[in-house]
């Protein structure tokens, strides 16, 4: 039987790679160190697979096809958008479990779009590289399963559906005959404005509200936020709390702990790192 053994909610800020020296030294050391802390904690979970939930940035998908939610069931590599210090590479996948999650969804009301050979963008590549790769380097074999949800491009997935999607992932993992130990990683947020006139603004109050929902397992709280509220207070990038909602939905009742947080206008984002305990 498979089980979800833990979760992480982390940012995927490309600006950290583009302008690594921009913030004050103590801040940037803390933020890079938060990824190291996630990796250290992941190593202790003895995971076999990691489901990383990201959002399309109008990059992987164009106007011809905009899936509400998609799972990579085959080969994975990335990122599509290479960055300084983040070159494209093959990402070890977990194809059997990914295919099982898709099939389980089809039988239970979740019609996943699938990517059978998928080049992920930075939304999945950053947490994979900074959190999972260091654990692989220690000798643990962890396969990545990319999930993309519509949080960057409208029509946006509904918050309620995002939480339900997490539940579908949980149900599939628990129905998996193999002894998979699965970690879910909600990748995105928290407040940031991407490409809009407000770019560079960070809203710490909003960020702390979202982290509080995560730490208290408050699915009703995060699920009850309207798109208007999120856009006003968290920016268009704040819509990525949907990825947090998916991860939280996969771990109902789980409590969380803030590993670190900083509002970093130099990196145009409120950077929050939370661990969810199974």
């Amino acid at each position: 039987m498979g089980k979800i053994v833990g979760g992480f909610l982390v940012p995927h800020d490309p600006v950290m790679f583009v302008a690594p020296e921009a913030p004050a030294e103590d801040v940037r050391k803390r933020m890079w160190g938060a990824y190291d802390a996630c990796a250290e904690r992941l190593a202790g979970l003895n995971a076999t697979s990691a489901v990383i939930i990201g959002a399309d940035h109008y990059f992987n998908f164009g106007t011809g096809c905009l899936p509400q939610y998609l799972i990579g069931t085959g080969d994975v590599d990335g990122p599509l958008d290479v960055l300084p210090g983040l070159k494209r590479q093959i990402i070890p996948a977990s194809e059997k479990l990914a295919g099982f999650i898709a099939d389980h969804g089809y039988a239970n009301g979740f019609d996943w779009a699938v990517a059978r050979a998928f080049t992920v963008d930075h939304a999945v590549a950053i947490p994979d590289r900074l959190i999972i790769d260091p654990v692989r380097a220690r000798g643990q074999s962890i396969g990545t399963i990319p999930v993309y949800i519509a949080a960057g491009v409208d029509p946006f997935i509904k918050m309620k559906r995002a939480i339900e999607l997490g539940g579908a992932i949980k149900a599939a993992v628990e129905a998996m005959p193999d002894d998979e130990r699965v970690v879910v990683i909600g990748s995105g947020g928290i407040s940031h404005w991407v490409g809009t006139p407000e770019m560079g603004k960070v809203n710490e109050a909003f960020d702390r509200e979202i982290m509080d929902y995560a730490c208290t397992g408050n699915l009703a709280g995060i699920g009850g936020l309207s798109d208007e509220y999120i856009l006003e207070n968290g920016g268009n990038g704040g819509m990525e709390i949907r990825q947090w909602a998916v991860a939280m939905g996969a771990m109902p009742g789980a409590r969380g702990e803030v590993i670190d947080y900083a509002p970093v206008p130099e990196w145009v984002t409120g950077l929050g790192f939370v661990q969810l305990f199974a």
Binding site: Y58, G62, T63, G200
Partner: protein
Amino acid sequence: MSRNVLEKLMHQLCVDRTVKQRFKEDPEGLLARYALSDEERAMVTGFDVAAMQKHGVNAMLTLGFWTENAPNRHPAAYMKALRGVASEGQAFSAGLKQ
């Protein structure tokens, strides 16, 4: 209203090297392939990202379009075009593709 066509073009101008090259060499020829109004064509050739956003184009696309195609790709130039005021020196500029 052809926001969708504009977004299609913007997406291609972000990710498709061939389309980007054609835009650089023959913008009018490229744009003739898209069902855009004169006003919309002017937004594209004039890099009027503010007008495009008011038209409903996704801000990630206007940012990508600018950083991949504008004569001056510097983030401060994008913000100036977007805000209509000088914005050099703002912290956000560190974050955009040089």
